[in-house]
């Protein structure tokens, strides 16, 4: 992506039973360099339940590559007050810039009361939250849509899912959910390679200011995700926003 800053708004480092091998900060940096990605948001991979060591690994990665990586603290809300205290310290003292929640992997519904204090903490600390959505009954996109208006000051980033399409269809609903942003992973392509979700941006049915580029490395492959972006005929302005400017604005980088 010549002439633009490329920031991947969701990646992982560390060990996971879902990965063939440990994915280190060096592995991530190498993948970023190979694929022309300047910076990345990084968090702890699933599964939990206890993410303390994994979050420490993220902290170490960010400390090692402060100009390339930004840390999101992975919260398991089942640990309640103790976890909230750690999360607050992670932001105030360790330099984490956001939270990551994964309702499916940690078995909680996003609409239940244990999520509320996390949202309140994010509001107080003025940090965004990335929700893993779409794959399960734990976090259907509708549940985010119900919750988001109660926390209008909290920036919510979620996997793009069908909610993007619905917001495009119902502009008034979209106005009420201004604090919701969409990550691009997984892009799937479409006719002539133009991805069905990205087509909503090229047709201006979804505001490109609400979309951030994500690969979810190492679960997603940057070469594939970037190829879909390339084939999707986004105009330069939209591409700049999606590929880096939006997440820069959200994170005040």
């Amino acid at each position: 992506m010549k002439g633009m800053v490329v920031i991947d708004a969701l990646t992982y480092v560390g060990e996971s039973v879902y990965l063939k091998r440990r994915f280190t900060a060096e592995d991530l940096i190498e993948m970023m360099d190979t694929n022309g990605i300047d910076m990345a948001v990084v968090t702890a991979p699933p599964p939990g339940p206890d993410y303390q060591r994994a979050n420490e690994g993220v902290y170490e990665a960010v400390r090692k590559y402060p100009d390339r990586l930004v840390g999101f603290y992975k919260i398991n809300p089942w640990f309640k007050e103790a976890e909230l205290e750690r999360a607050e310290r992670a932001v105030r003292e360790w330099g984490f810039r956001g939270f990551k929640l994964d309702p499916k992997d940690d078995s909680f519904h996003v609409g239940t009361s244990i999520v509320k204090p996390v949202m309140e903490l994010a509001e107080m600390l003025e940090v965004p939250i990335f929700f893993q959505t779409g794959d399960s009954s734990f976090c259907p996109p509708e549940a985010i849509a119900f919750m988001a208006p109660s926390f209008p000051k909290v920036t919510i980033i979620m996997s793009h899912t069908d909610l993007g399409v619905r917001l495009a269809t119902y502009p008034r609903l979209s106005e009420d959910l201004k604090n919701i942003y969409f990550g691009t992973y997984p892009l799937r392509g479409g006719h002539k390679g133009i991805d069905r979700f990205l087509r909503l941006i090229t047709s201006r049915t979804i505001d490109p200011k609400r979309v951030v580029f994500t690969t979810e490395m190492p679960f997603g492959h940057p070469k594939f995700e970037l190829k879909v972006i390339e084939l999707s005929n986004l105009d330069e302005e939209a591409k700049k926003l999606i590929m880096g400017e939006n997440i820069k604005r959200i994170l005040r980088l």
């Binding site: 779409g134 799937r188 479409g190 390679g193 594939f224 995700e225 190829k227």
Partner: protein, 253 residues
Amino acid sequence: MVYIDAHTHFGKGMPAGIPPDRVEECIAMMDRIGMDAIITTPPYASISMDRSYDEANALLSEAMRKWPKRILGLARINPHFRGRAVKRAEEALQSGFWGIKFHPRNEAFPANSRELVFPIMRKVEELGGLVLFHTGGLVYSHPTLVGDVADNFPEVPIQIGHLGGRFEDDAILVAKWFDNVILDTSFCRGPRSIEKAVEVAGVEKVVYASDYPQGSIELDTLKVELAEISKRDKALILGRNIKRILDTIRGMR
């Protein structure tokens, strides 16, 4: 190398501004990229005013007559026609179609309907053929429903379209459990989905597909190329697996 796309569409009135294909365009496209053959079926937009696919199936039959080794048609059947649908399936299989395509979501029937689907499956069992199911919806087209069909018709090769969509893990298990089930990769999430399918269900159960022209051959081939699997496995997925199944069907007739 054998290069076969196991799930494409051919017919008039393609949806969402996608232009209709002429068979010559298909063949020219295949020649450009070195593709040997496509398994193809009418798209939803080819449904006639009477809700059948008679016209579109006839168009495809004509294309198959022109290019019998490269255009491998699956007749689109709307099972709500009951007796007439069974008759159409019989005529199609006897006139050179390689099998049947069902789209439970578009025509609103459960994939494992005893009343609507099983009579047609019995005809396929009798005459030989491949059956492709669109999958990905919670209602009607969940891959476990296709598993029920596979359980009842163990001699019929059954293809789960789109690797189960958002129910990828379920689809992979269904393919693992039933010998007669294969998974097609069209619109799947990415290279890791293919790796997982190979690891759990076995490489012989995975066939490359793109859903062309709604999907992109370039992108779906790239997913196979980027998957961390052996060269031999890639060759099987890109064509040899589906060729083996087609050879078996030819032998049954």
